[in-house]
């Protein structure tokens, strides 16, 4: 794919993705005021959100699972040993955002 095509696909395509951006440019083209577009309301609040819209029930007969947990729950395999099946630390050598594409080998393909 030619580089101009990549520019069109990623950059121009990305700019076109933002609906508010498109709306703003359309408003600008019509001579309107763009400053009222796209303002954000503040949704900050204490605690995790209750998406059902109702407060979580308290008390009752449910057992409290939180007291025994000190991390996120492990729903699948429980890792009990080191070795190839355990998680390797990916963070040690990272000092920037990850590079998923280019991987440069020190010695080329030799």
């Amino acid at each position: 794919m030619a580089n101009d095509r990549m520019f069109q696909v990623i950059v121009v395509g990305g700019i076109g993705l933002a609906s508010a951006t498109a709306m703003s440019l359309a408003v600008t083209a019509c001579g309107g005021d763009t400053l009222t577009q796209g303002t954000s309301g503040d949704a900050s609040g204490d605690g995790f959100p209750a998406e059902l819209g109702a407060p979580a029930p308290d008390g009752g007969s449910s057992h409290d699972a939180a007291a025994e947990a000190d991390a996120f729950p492990q729903e699948g395999p429980i890792m009990v040993d080191a070795g190839i099946d355990s998680a390797r630390d990916a963070a040690a050598e990272a000092d920037a955002f990850p590079q998923e594409g280019p991987v440069m080998l020190d010695g080329g393909n030799g």
Binding site: N3, L17, A18, A20, S40, A87, G101, G107
Partner: protein, 269 residues
């Protein structure tokens, strides 16, 4: 510039690399000698680690963007990207295992990328700089790099794996440009133009320098399995920087003169 609004409710249907089936049985690299198989496998193994780190990077961006607010399409794509990267990591792991063997590749990774903290910046500026570095630079470069890699990849399984990644990477780059366009509309791009040389040096320049230090001869037998050598890779990175990224920022009216001067000074043109 022609733009088309995309409703957030339509966004999930636009792209999804997970829809692509990968014929893993076709990933037979026995035609490669051990040395070449090791070299190609190492790139996929390292890419596996980078894809894992990208999960944390996009999760960070999602939290930062949710805190300060952004267009819903941006938040939708960034949160989806974190899940995309989990799948990408597994795709890369399986390619690496096919080339190197199960024992040579970790079954899983843990850990987060140590991203620049921009401690003196406001939350709004820090978020902008993070999105630019991750999406407008790293992911855009990745999209161009994978496109060139795909053009040289002939093994059916490797092609399908790469197409599966590339389909998502395009959106991961696009979301950065969408966000910068949104911030431009709001008049909140302060600090970006001045920061670009440092961001580009870290996200693209170092890879160009690394590749240029160790140029090689392109090997079609290795490229067949999803591999770009340093000579081709260096050229692709330069094109991505000069033909896509710099014009991208220029199209959003950012002052790219300092960036162009840096590119000339470092020989990245």
């Amino acid at each position: 510039m022609t733009v088309r609004a995309v409703d957030v409710l339509e966004a999930r249907a636009i792209r999804d690399g997970a829809r692509r089936a990968i014929p893993w049985d076709a990933l037979d690299a026995s035609a490669l000698d051990a040395k070449k198989r090791e070299a190609v496998g190492r790139t996929w193994a390292d890419r596996y680690r980078q894809e894992h780190l990208a999960v944390g990077a996009f999760s960070l961006l999602a939290q930062e963007l949710a805190e300060i607010g952004c267009d819903p399409i941006v938040l939708s794509l960034v949160t989806r990207a974190a899940a995309d990267e989990v799948r990408h990591a597994e795709v890369c792991r399986r390619v690496a295992v096919a080339l190197l063997g199960e024992d040579a590749v970790p079954a899983r990774y843990r850990g987060l990328p140590k991203v620049p903290k921009h401690e003196d910046a406001t939350a709004e500026t820090r978020t902008l700089l993070h999105v630019v570095e991750m999406c407008c630079l790293s992911e855009t470069v990745t999209g161009v790099y994978f496109t060139e890699m795909l053009a040289r990849t002939t093994n059916a399984a490797s092609r399908a794996a790469l197409e599966s990644l590339l389909e998502d990477e395009i959106d991961h780059g696009r979301v950065g440009w969408a966000y910068v366009a949104e911030r431009r509309r709001d008049g909140t791009l302060d600090g970006l133009a001045e920061a670009l040389p440092a961001l580009v040096t870290r996200a693209v320049g170092r890879s160009i320098d690394d590749a240029t230090r160790s140029l090689d001869v392109a090997d079609p037998s290795m490229e067949a399995f999803g591999y770009l050598g340093n000579t081709v890779g260096s050229a692709v990175l330069r094109r991505a920087l000069n033909d896509v990224i710099v014009p991208g920022f220029a199209s959003l009216d950012l002052d790219v003169a300092p960036l162009r001067a840096l590119i000339a000074e470092r020989g990245w043109a």
